[in-house]
């Protein structure tokens, strides 16, 4: 009943509206894809209830607005008002009209209320008829730590999920509030200190396929749609974002979600579980590791299979395999890596790596610490090459 009810109200109407919005979309920018282009059941349910609200409001707006405009046109008094101008109608109310309008309003609110309540329970209840994958999410200023408890995988700023499977995200924060949001898969949920919040999302393979097709025909940039060409798997990349203000670099606290099919997801898990395999020669790796250790990178970072076991920053074991660095903000290229390693403060204001590892002086010029990291140009290149090779 709920689904049919929704469809009846919103189906045809929302298609018209979507078409209008699509015109706006394509008229402006091709590749924009947001909450109006859902890729999973949660986002779809959210959008369809939104459409009910939108249509009721729009209907009301048109009716009330037209009547307002009608009054303005019809009763506009042009010219001077003098003593002799006859006064208009002086009645001051009409009980019947008032009650009628109130009843209509109550009825309209009811139309919105019903699907809302149903939707709240749909979105807020885990599907019980199939296996639910779990990901533990920890938000930190200003990056994400992801763990797959089932597989013992630890990674950062980039996750993979199996298409067509519900995934439960357990949300924790290590410091302030953050909010976990993948607009095309569903709404957000806050990461609240001292609270166990969770959220479930699911990517729908058919919607993904349709979206990919649409993007390839409309000529939109596929940047957010596909993995880079040299990526070992085929899949879909979605962007996620921290949506709760969390300090200086809140804008740069993003992440990416790879949607893979079951087989590729298993491959990905195995890969992430294993230690990294560098594509470099043993000598180059040793040199990279030496420079890494010399600059005290290991105090904060882990590279499994080496002596680097720091826990303050993102796990770098497979950093070379990620599509982005610095929490989704920069594309992962050797140049960006180098820039980040040498001058993280330039790319991401006040980030912890910079503030506790690199910063010499505070904003008034006072010395903060004198054991700070200074990465020379040669070291930068070595490190970038080394890290980029950690596939």
């Amino acid at each position: 009943m709920p689904k049919r009810y929704l469809k009846a109200v919103s189906g045809p109407l929302s298609r018209i509206l979507l078409a209008l919005l699509a015109i706006l979309n394509t008229g402006c920018v091709n590749e924009v894809r947001g909450t109006l282009n859902p890729l999973g059941p949660v986002a779809e349910r959210q959008m369809s209830t939104f459409m009910v609200t939108l249509w009721v409001s729009l209907g009301m707006f048109v009716v009330v607005g037209s009547f307002l405009v009608y009054c303005l046109v019809k009763f506009h008094h042009k010219g001077e008002i003098t003593k002799d101008t006859p006064l208009p109608d002086q009645s001051h109310g009409n009980a019947l009209t008032e009650i009628g309008l109130i009843l209509i309003s109550v009825f309209l609110v009811g139309i919105i209320a019903l699907p809302t309540v149903q939707g709240v329970f749909y979105v807020g209840t885990l599907p019980s008829d199939q296996k639910v994958y779990e990901v533990n999410v920890t938000g930190l200023q200003w990056w994400w730590k992801f763990e797959y408890p089932e597989y013992g995988v630890v990674t950062a700023n980039e996750i993979a999920i199996p298409a067509g499977r519900p995934v439960k995200f357990n949300l924790q924060t290590a410091d302030v509030l953050h909010s976990f949001w993948v607009p095309r898969l569903g709404g957000k949920m806050d990461l609240n200190p001292g609270q166990d919040n969770w959220l479930w999302l699911q990517a729908d393979p058919e919607m993904l396929a349709a979206d990919a097709k649409e993007l390839s025909t409309s000529g939109g940039s596929p940047r957010w749609a596909h993995l880079p060409a040299d990526y070992p798997f085929q899949g879909y990349v979605l962007y996620g974002q921290c949506a709760e203000y969390c300090g200086s670099s809140h804008a740069f606290m993003q992440f990416r979600v790879l949607v893979l099919d079951d087989a590729n997801f298993q491959k990905w898990v195995e890969w992430q579980k294993s230690d990294s395999k560098s594509t470099l020669t043993a000598g180059e790796v040793a040199q990279g590791q030496a420079v890494f250790m010399k600059n005290k990178c290991q105090t904060c970072h882990t590279v499994r299979g080496t002596n680097a076991k720091g826990l303050v920053g993102p796990d770098l074991t497979h950093i070379g395999s990620r599509t982005s660095i610095a929490a989704g903000w920069l594309e992962n290229t050797p140049e960006n890596l180098g820039h980040w390693i040498q001058k993280p403060g330039e790319l991401k204001p006040e980030n912890i790596m910079y503030v506790t590892g690199y910063q010499h002086t505070d904003k008034w010029g006072g010395l903060v610490n004198n054991s700070q990291i200074v990465v020379t140009d040669e070291e930068r290149d070595v490190l970038a090459k080394y890290l980029y090779s950690l596939k």
Partner: protein, 668 residues
Amino acid sequence: MSSEEMHIEPAPEKGFFDNIFPRQVEPKGLIGWLTTIDHKRIGILYGVTALFWFLVGGLEALMIRIQLHTSDFRGFISAETYNSLFTMHGTTMIFLVVMPLAVAFFNYVMPLQIGARDVAFPRMNAFSYWMFLFASILLNISWFFGEAPHMSWVGYAPITEIQYTPGMAGEFWIIGLQLLGVASIVGSLNFITTIINMRAPGMTFMRMPVFSWMTLVTGFLIILAFPAITICLAELMFDRLFGTNFFQAAAGGLPILWQHLFWVFGHPEVYILILPPMGMVSEILPVFSRRPLFGYPLIVGSGIAIGLMGFTVWSHHMFTSGLGNIATAAFALTTMAIAVPTGVKIFNWIGTLYKGQLIMATPMLFSLGFIYQFMMGGFSGLMHANAVHDLQQHDSYFIVAHFHYVLIGGALFGTFAGLYYWFPKVTGRKLDEKFGKFVFWFLFVGFNLTFFPMHWLGLNGMPRRIYTYSPNMGWDTINMVCTFGALLMAVAVVVFFWDLFRTAKSGQVAGFDPWDARTVEWSIPNPPPVYNFKDTPQVKCLDDFWYAKYPETMVHDEDETMHPSDYVAADPAVHGHSHDDHGIHMPGGSWFPMFAALGFCIGGFGIVMHGFFIPDPVAAKSMSTLSILLREYWLAILGGLMGVASVFAWAMEPIGGYNIHFKEEDNK
């Protein structure tokens, strides 16, 4: 009735404090303004101050818009500055612009509308103003310390805790808001008492103009809602200063409690912002439609209903905080219910226009803009109330669009309507119609251009409070449009201020009753004399002044007679309103409200500055806790003492003042 006709005689009383800071008798010049307790002057002070902060808040908004006009634009301002900008922009606009602008009208217009001589506690009224002024300055001098608050206007714990926001920024924000809260509560106690107790004879509640009604409702909202924010700010302050654990999750504290307490205040607060402009619009529409307000009792009733319901919906700001399904659904329903009383208002306003004789003067234009834009904002509010999709909308530009529609399109447009409408009352001069229309259209187009596209941005994933975004997102074009719209608004604002100054100095003289208005404040000269009404008006019906002018338009179900109990109140010996042999007694100006406010604000500043006085840890070892506290907070203590002493002196002040006698033949 100008002052030549009357004869002024100082009251004989003199008291101890009179020797140092005497109560002022008919003060002039700067001293007159500093010591004034006249509700009209205080209203003007509120208005001017709030308009000044509007420029500051607007400048901050422009910088935000310039920063966001295109993607990855980083040279203009740093992330830290941007964060301070939107925090201060939000805080300024809400607490230093829209609220005090409404208070300016409460002060100036409400006592005139109910036929009172002044507010119930004139010196307390002055205290509210000075408190507001000094607190607003305190909040804004943070810029000069490089410590402007940067944790957003809602300051969600724990980012406001000392670990994440060290330095003075936190205290500036906490103390600033705390002092502003005191000013608001004290002011509202005063307004409510005034309305309950100082209505002219015959002015029963159901004959009271809607604006005064909304003042009353807003007053109640303020005294009942502000305590919640005061307490959460105090708890936060203790966390920061004395290491309590209210919002420290590690010790078992619940940061979520902040959100609850903040929004228990915060949602009534948004109705505090909108109800006064709704009242103004309800005054203006009938005047410019030349017909009575449609459904007066319902407009009043829905105002009260909105106020009451406003306390039941706070968690709709927290749908993404993990409330659980039941609470989420419940708050979604209570929120949606508010659409009904709000709709009643919209319908009745339009009902007033229907069959009217619409005069498209500037106040009317702004009121019509208000109806349209507030309705838009209300509908997007309803979309947030859809808790399913609010998970998508929350903290995105969709929200930014919603609240600017209700705040600018609603509250600010309504207030502008009021400003144009009552400007002749205040200055005796009418703002220019041509300029007014220019300002209206530029603001209208600019506003819709700025904020309508933001709905689209939000739905396409643009989060709020980000200082830049990636070019990959495809948000560039729309942001450019928004920025362009903001520039149009800036043009309108500049022209508006220029017109304001020009008119105040040498505008067209308005004369008596320039709008053919309906309420009693227009039955006295523009601007009104110090004593307001020479003879206290005897109110026989709603819109008394109109029916005095057009008795034939009275529809006869109207209750024309005065209620018997009103005559008791009208007895001059008891009421003391109309002048008899003693003339009209006007109280004298007083210094102490300002001193008290100054003292408390210096004390607040002392708390902000406490970090500078902390003894170094080595020295502190040999000091007792008490002496450390004294050293840290000496300025706070000193300021507090000054405040308390001033309040004491104020309580001891003689009545003072002077009597105004009219020549015999002036008595009608």
